[in-house]
C-alpha cells in the first residue's frame, strides 16, 4: 500500500512517499507564496522520485503550518504529532524531540510507547526559531546551509548581546563593521540560537535519547552548542534528512489511518 505525507512549513515544504514502512521518494522545496502550490509541487517531486503518480497513493496526511490548505490530503495531523512519530521511526530510542522550524520551535517528550507526554512551543518570538538564523545569514550575506561549517572554523566566537532578533542583527552588523571574521560571528549566532533552544527545552526537561529534527538539525554548530548547554549527547539522525521528519510522521499516520484505521 502506497501512502504519502506532506509537511507545508513557512520556509520549506516536504513530502514523503512510503510503501510498507519504506521510503520510496522524498522531496524538499522552498515554500511558495500559496501553501497549496507548495504542497502540489513538493508532492509531485516526491512521487516523480518514486516513479509514481498521485493516483497510486492510497492515503495521505498533511501537516505543518499550511496543512489546512493542502487540497489533496485525506486528513491532517498536528506538527507535534508528526514530528514525534517521525522522530521515533528514525531513532526508535528517542524520548525527547527538539524541532526547530522556520518560524517556531518545539520540544516534546515521548513516553516509551511513543505517545506525546508533554510539549512546549514558541511561535511568538522569532528568536530561537529558524527565522533567527535566516535573518542573520542574510545580514552576513552567507547561505543558511553554510552556517554550520562556518562556525566550525571559528577561533574566537563573539557573544551576541541580546536575545531579540532585531537587536542581535544590529550586533552582527556592528561586528561585521568592526572587521570580526565571519566565522567568529557565525559561531556567536549559532550559540545564541542554542541558548534560546536550551531555555525552551529545559522547561519540559530532557529524557534520553534526545534528538533534533528540522532543517536546523543539519547545522553542526547549533547541535554542538546545544550539547554543551544541556550537558548531553544529541542522537544524530542519519537514516534520512532530519528536515523531512514531519513528512515521514505524516506518511506513517497515513499508513495507520488508511482503510478506516483509527482516526
Amino acid at each position: 500500500m502506497i501512502v504519502a505525507g506532506c509537511d507545508v512549513g513557512s520556509l520549506t515544504s516536504k513530502a514523503v512517499v512510503m510503501r510498507d514502512g519504506r521510503i520510496l521518494g522524498r522531496a524538499v522545496i522552498k515554500s511558495k507564496a500559496k501553501p497549496w502550490e507548495s504542497a502540489e509541487s513538493v508532492m509531485q517531486m516526491a512521487l516523480a522520485a518514486a516513479g509514481l503518480g498521485m493516483s497510486d497513493v492510497r492515503y495521505s496526511v498533511g501537516t505543518g503550518y499550511g496543512r489546512d490548505k493542502i487540497p489533496f490530503v485525506h486528513e491532517t495531523v498536528s506538527e507535534i504529532g508528526c514530528h514525534g512519530k517521525g522522530a521515533r521511526w528514525l531513532v526508535p530510542s528517542v524520548r525527547t524531540v527538539i524541532d526547530i522550524g522556520g518560524q517556531d520551535c518545539k520540544a516534546m517528550r515521548l513516553d516509551k510507547d511513543g505517545n506525546i507526554e508533554k510539549f512546549i512551543a514558541n511561535d511568538k518570538c522569532a528568536s530561537g526559531t529558524g527565522r533567527f538564523l535566516e535573518v542573520m545569514a542574510k545580514a552576513l550575506g552567507v547561505d543558511l546551509g553554510e552556517l554550520g561549517d562556518l562556525s566550525a572554523r571559528a577561533k574566537h566566537p563573539v557573544t551576541l548581546a541580546n536575545a531579540c532578533t532585531v537587536w542581535a542583527q544590529a550586533d552582527v552588523i556592528r561586528h561585521l563593521h568592526d572587521g570580526v571574521p565571519v566565522e567568529d560571528i557565525v559561531a556567536g549566532i549559532n550559540n545564541a540560537m542554542a541558548v534560546r533552544t536550551a531555555t525552551l527545552v529545559r522547561n519540559i526537561g530532557t529524557e534520553p535519547d534526545v534528538c533534533m529534527t528540522g532543517g536546523v538539525a543539519k547545522n553542526g554548530g547549533v547541535l554542538a552548542s546545544l550539547e554543551r548547554l544541556l550537558s548531553l549527547r544529541l542522537k544524530r539522525i542519519k537514516r534520512e534528512d532530519p528536515q523531512i521528519t514531519g513528512a515521514i510522521g505524516a506518511a506513517l499516520f497515513a499508513a495507520e489511518h488508511a482503510d478506516g484505521g483509527h482516526r
Binding site: 518560524q103 511568538k124 527565522r131 535573518v135 536575545a163 531579540c164 532578533t165 532585531v166 537587536w167
Partner: protein, 268 residues
Amino acid sequence: MIVAGCDVGSLTAKAVLMNDGTIIGSGITRTGPVPEASANAAMQLALDQAGVTIDAIAHCVGTGYGRRRITFGDTVESEIACHARGAVWQVASVRTVIDIGGQDAKAIRLDERGNVVQYQYNDKCAAGTGRFLEVIADALGIELDALGPLSEQATEHLTLSNQCVVFAETEILSLVNEGKETADIVRAMHQAVARRAVAMARSIGVAGDVAMTGGVAKNSGMFEALREALGMPLVQVPHPQLNGAIGAALVAADAAGRSAGESVAAHA
C-alpha cells in the same frame, strides 16, 4: 545660575539649558556613531540658542544610554529618574509616564515631587519600542515623520496578530500584497506598539494623569493609539522629546544648589 541636562539616546541626543527654572536653550541631534560628538553637537545647539558659552554652566547632568560618554557632564543620573522629574515639571499633575524610546520603553509611576515610586523597563525585545516603527517604516518605504499624518487617514480597521517585530514585518508585507492601504497598516502598527506599552504600564499600575514622553510622542498616530489602548486621556507635555534632558537639568540645579550651599558654608 545656569545648569544643563544632556540626554544621549540611541537615536537622538538632546540638551537643555536652564536658568532659575526656565529653559533658555535646547538642542536635538541625531546620534552618530560617536556618542561624545552627538552630545557635543546637541549641547552646542542649546548654547547657541541661549547665547552663552559652556563655561557659564554651573553643573551639567548626563542621562540616557550614552550618558557615560558625555565629556562635559559633571554627574550622571538614570533615565528613569530624569523622565520622572522632567514630566512632573512639565505638567504638575502627571503621576504616570510612558516613555517610548528608540530602543527601549519605560513606564514610571511617580509622586508629586517627581520621585520614582515604581517603574518597568523593556530593552530586551524590540516590540513595543521605537525600533518597531523604524523597521516597519523602512519596510514600507516611508519616512518616520510621515507615520503620524498617514495613520490619521486610516479608514479600515486592521489588527496585527504578531507582536514580534520580525514576524510583524512579514505580516505587514503580506497585508501590502493583499492590497491593504498603507494608512490602515500604519495605524494597526501604532496600535500594536501601544498594546505592548499599555501592558507594561498596567504591570506597575496606571495612576493619576498619564503622560507620554520621548520622541515617539511627537508621532500623532502613536499618541492617539496609546490614548485609545489606555482608554483614558493622555496628557500632552510641551516638550516630549526633551523630557529626559529637562529632568537631567533639574537634577543639575539641585546639585549646583547643594554645592553653592556647601561653599557658602565653607566660607562661613
